[in-house]
């Protein structure tokens, strides 16, 4: 079995596993490492330089660059004869009604990022095998980091790659899928966001993919890890997270923080404050990061200002919808030792409230 998908939990050193794989394979193998975010590309490049700098056939590329360089640019004429891709338009969107080439390229001939997956996928079939054959001759292995970030047509492309002679290794944490390459696409909703777990299990059942579940986090304290598991409906069948974090401090675990204690909590523990987006957490004047931005980061302590659904989940145990659950999971799993959640009405929650008096007495 040449295709692997590692479903890992937050803090299980996914990116490092890719770097180590590159360092371990034969120096003759031509390896392509793909990832979605620019920050992760830089991270991969710098780590590869350190650990696999003697491997000259490892190439790191963004997902869009991959689609442009190996799909759209070489094979566009199969869909639009005589046309060329002259650039890339990341932010732009085609007009809703646009058809033909206008759906995929703007007036300057630049490919729309949000439609690139669809275009690329169509070109696979239209090239009558030339596209895939080309890829197979250029690369022996394609590694994809943060695979949960891909969506819609991207998954169909992966589906094609799974049947190619190129070995595909994907690493991702489906619980973290808070980005999508085409937010507007309704097609393939079943594969996007947390739905991708179902996709992978279907392929495993057909023997096209081997799923390895990596459940050990080196980052999150056991209590934090256990809480992060509880965010998801058990029907998703995520395996339980194991923690290797044995560090003990005077404040470990998940705590509720009353509004009136927020200032004191921040002063005392200096946690990284996290909010869903610029529109949330306005009640407090804190140095926030948005959930999305915090992806890939590690902090000793975090303080989360919950959204209404998150507050409701904690107070009543009503499960979040997939998307919200993912973003909350990202926020919680940033922490090594402690997670604070700003909440006044605890409801049926069993989480303890932080008590400033007790803390003072300890000191």
């Amino acid at each position: 079995m040449a295709n692997h998908l590692t479903l890992a939990v937050a803090g299980s050193r996914k990116t490092q596993s890719i770097v180590e794989h590159c360092a371990s394979v034969s120096r003759e193998r031509r390896v392509l490492v793909l990832t979605y975010t620019q920050a992760n590309q830089e991270e991969l490049i710098s780590r590869l330089k350190q650990y696999a700098g003697d491997h000259h056939h490892v190439e790191v590329m963004g997902w869009f660059t991959f689609l442009l360089r190996h799909f759209a640019r070489p094979f566009l004429p199969f869909k639009f004869a005589g046309k060329r891709v002259l650039g890339f338009n990341f932010d732009g969107r085609p007009h809703r009604m646009s058809t033909g080439i206008g759906r995929f390229l703007d007036s300057n001939g630049a490919a729309y990022g949000c439609e690139l997956g669809r275009l690329a996928h169509e070109l696979v079939a239209r090239s009558k095998g030339a596209l895939l054959k080309r890829l197979e001759c250029i690369y022996d292995e394609i590694l994809i980091d943060e695979v949960q970030d891909l969506s819609a047509h991207d998954w169909e492309i992966i589906d094609v790659l799974l049947d190619s002679s190129v070995d595909i290794r994907m690493v991702g944490d489906i619980r973290q899928s808070v980005l999508a390459t085409n937010p507007r696409s309704s097609k393939n909703a079943k594969y996007s966001y947390a739905g991708s777990v179902k996709w992978a299990r279907e392929r495993q059942a057909k023997g096209r993919l081997e799923i390895v579940e990596s459940v050990t986090t080196s980052r999150c304290h056991p209590v934090v890890a256990k809480f992060s598991d509880s965010i998801f409906d058990p029907s998703w069948k995520f395996p339980e997270t194991q923690s290797e974090n044995r560090t003990v401090t005077d404040h470990d675990g998940v705590f509720l923080v009353s509004t009136k204690h927020v200032t004191e909590y921040v002063r005392h523990f200096q946690p990284q404050c996290l909010r869903h987006s610029v529109n949330s957490g306005k009640a407090f004047d804190l140095d926030y990061f948005n959930f999305k931005v915090s992806k890939g980061m590690t902090y000793e302590r975090v303080l989360i200002v919950p959204t209404a659904p998150i507050a409701k989940f904690i107070a009543s145990g009503a499960y979040l919808e997939a998307n919200s659950a993912s973003s909350f999971y990202v926020a919680v799993t940033r922490a090594e030792q402690s997670v604070g959640i700003v909440l006044d009405k605890a409801g049926s929650s069993s989480l303890p409230f932080w008590n400033p008096t007790a803390a003072k007495q300890e000191v």
């Binding site: 190996h70 070489p74 566009l76 199969f78 890829l135 197979e136 001759c137 250029i138």
Partner: protein
């Protein structure tokens, strides 16, 4: 391997499409037919350079096809806003795994096809739209190339900056460019491809060490003395050291030597022989494409024989050769089936030739095959006497020599008529063939070669058996003994037929020089009329 070459608007080639042979390509053609231009175009698209310099540096208005430019100017002057002339060179490669990085559908093939390939496009740069249009108000035949851009791309639509390693190319031409280091760009390229990475690293390392050691020995004493000279701005000591920058790398000073004579000092023939051997030698980095211009230049016959057999034995399956030549010897020796005949916007190939015939010509390398190949109309006769008599009869009838009408009269000199006819048929060339009947019924003789004959294009003329077996009795039969004795100046007591048969050429020359006309044999007269058309 190049499967197809497309050249549009480049020099003499307005729109040329060539499908070269897998291994050998012998490009022949009349002068000014664009042989060298084709080679240049291929090298241009393969290497992105021309004579070692970048295309944009070398670009000049004379690269553009004059007919295309004239058409453009005519249209613009008459107010039709046609676009500026362009040059496009496309090379379509074989669809093999190692070339897949160059694979894509960004080419001009219709219908859309994906295959590995490269293109060189020289077109008006839209950044200079205003300047271009200003120029077009009063256009001249010299295009404003300073407003043009050169794009070298793979069919995957990726801009190429340096020659992809898989396209190792060796260019061997006779105009040796002598650079300061004595080796031209092409030679340096060939040498560079020759060395394995480890060898290259070793040489580089040693060369640095040698340079460094000079700094520590001979230069040391000088530096000690100079350290007391305070010439710099901040009174820092000056020291002499060997330049270790890339500009002075070993490549600039290491040159091949032949018998201890530097390469650049050896003869031109020797130089091209060395280049060819190096480029074709079996090693990892050897050239996939070898282009040789007129290997017969600067070589004696013996050296040419040696060189050609070396080319033949070195040529591998994975190597494609392009050779231009004016030499029938080169053509016959390397195989007529490799021929690419340059015509106006077309090339003819000889892939239909029987391998037996190819071998036949290889064994007859001295035969002037190129004359057959290059002639517009050919008359094939048996021997020199037939040739001379034919010319005279032609002149008597039309008042011009055959050559003046574009007709080349060629004597077979032992060449089998069938082979000659097959070659002409393969080339689609008109031919007038004449042969003796040697006492055999003409229809019987025509039988075996009939497949290469075509009414009105390729016809065979044979005299009646009753009129004599060869030219001489035929001449006696038609002209009559009396007149012929007079023309030849033969005494009555001599046997006319015996004398003519013994002195074939002399007889023909006397007929040719005579003021009196002979009565031509019927078949020869027919042949003359047919050849004239």
């Amino acid at each position: 391997m190049i499967r197809k070459i497309k050249v549009q608007g480049y020099r003499i080639h307005k729109n040329l499409s060539v499908e070269p042979n897998r291994k050998f390509n012998l490009i022949v053609g009349a002068n000014e037919s664009g042989k060298s231009t084709l080679m240049e175009a291929v090298a241009l698209a393969l290497t992105g350079r021309i004579n070692g310099r970048s295309v944009s540096e070398e670009l000049n208005p004379h690269w553009f096809n004059t007919a295309v430019v004239e058409e453009f100017i005519k249209k613009r002057v008459s107010g039709v806003p046609v676009s500026f002339p362009e040059i496009l060179i496309e090379l379509y490669f074989e669809d093999v795994p190692e070339l897949q990085i160059l694979c894509g559908a960004v080419n001009t093939h219709v219908p859309t096809t994906a295959c590995p390939g490269v293109s060189m496009r020289i077109s008006a740069n839209p950044d200079y739209a205003a300047e271009l249009e200003e120029w077009a108000k009063a256009p001249t035949s010299l295009l404003p190339v300073e407003y043009y851009r050169c794009e070298w791309r793979s069919f995957a639509d990726k801009e190429l900056t340096t020659r992809p390693k898989v396209l190792a190319t060796a260019v061997i031409n006779s105009h040796t460019v002598r650079t300061s280091s004595g080796i031209d760009y092409h030679m340096r390229q060939i040498l560079g491809d020759q060395l394995e990475p480890a060898e290259r690293a070793q040489i580089s390392l040693e060369y640095r060490r040698v340079k460094a050691s000079l700094s520590n020995t001979a230069l040391n004493a000088v530096n000690t003395r100079m350290s007391s000279v305070h010439a710099t701005l901040h009174n820092r000591p000056i020291a002499l050291a060997m330049d270790q920058s890339a500009r002075t790398s070993w490549e600039g000073v290491v040159t091949p030597h032949v018998d201890d004579v530097p390469f650049s000092m050896s003869g031109q023939g020797q130089q091209s022989a060395i280049k060819i051997s190096l480029a074709m030698n079996r090693h990892a980095g050897r050239a996939k494409f070898v282009m040789v211009e007129e290997p017969e230049n600067h070589l004696t016959h013996t050296s040419l024989v040696t060189l050609l057999s070396r080319i033949e034995s070195l040529a591998g399956e994975q190597q494609q050769l392009f050779i231009t030549t004016h030499s029938s010897f080169v053509l016959n020796r390397l195989g007529l089936d490799a021929l690419l005949l340059m015509g106006h916007d077309v090339t003819a190939k000889l892939s239909t030739l029987d391998p037996e015939t190819v071998n036949y010509f290889k064994k007859l390398p001295g035969y002037d095959t190129l004359r057959i190949v290059l002639a517009n109309k050919i008359v094939l006769v048996e021997g020199p006497s037939d040739e001379i008599v034919f010319e005279r009869i032609f002149h008597d009838r039309y008042g011009k020599r055959p050559m003046a009408c574009g007709i080349d009269v060629l004597s077979m000199r032992g060449l089998s008529l069938a082979r000659g006819l097959e070659l002409c048929a393969a080339l689609g060339k008109p031919i007038t063939a004449l042969r003796d009947n040697d006492g055999i019924d003409p229809d019987e003789l025509r039988g075996p070669v009939d497949k290469w004959l075509k009414k009105g294009v390729r016809e065979l003329f044979i005299g009646e058996v009753t009129h004599g077996e060869t030219l001489e009795p035929q001449l006696i039969h038609h002209t009559g003994e009396v007149l012929l004795r007079d023309i030849l100046g033969i005494a009555d007591h001599a046997d006319l037929l015996k004398w003519m048969t013994r002195e074939k050429t002399e007889a023909a020359l006397r007929i040719s020089a005579s003021e009196k006309k002979i009565v031509p044999p019927a078949c020869m007269l027919e042949a003359v009329k047919f050849a004239h058309g």
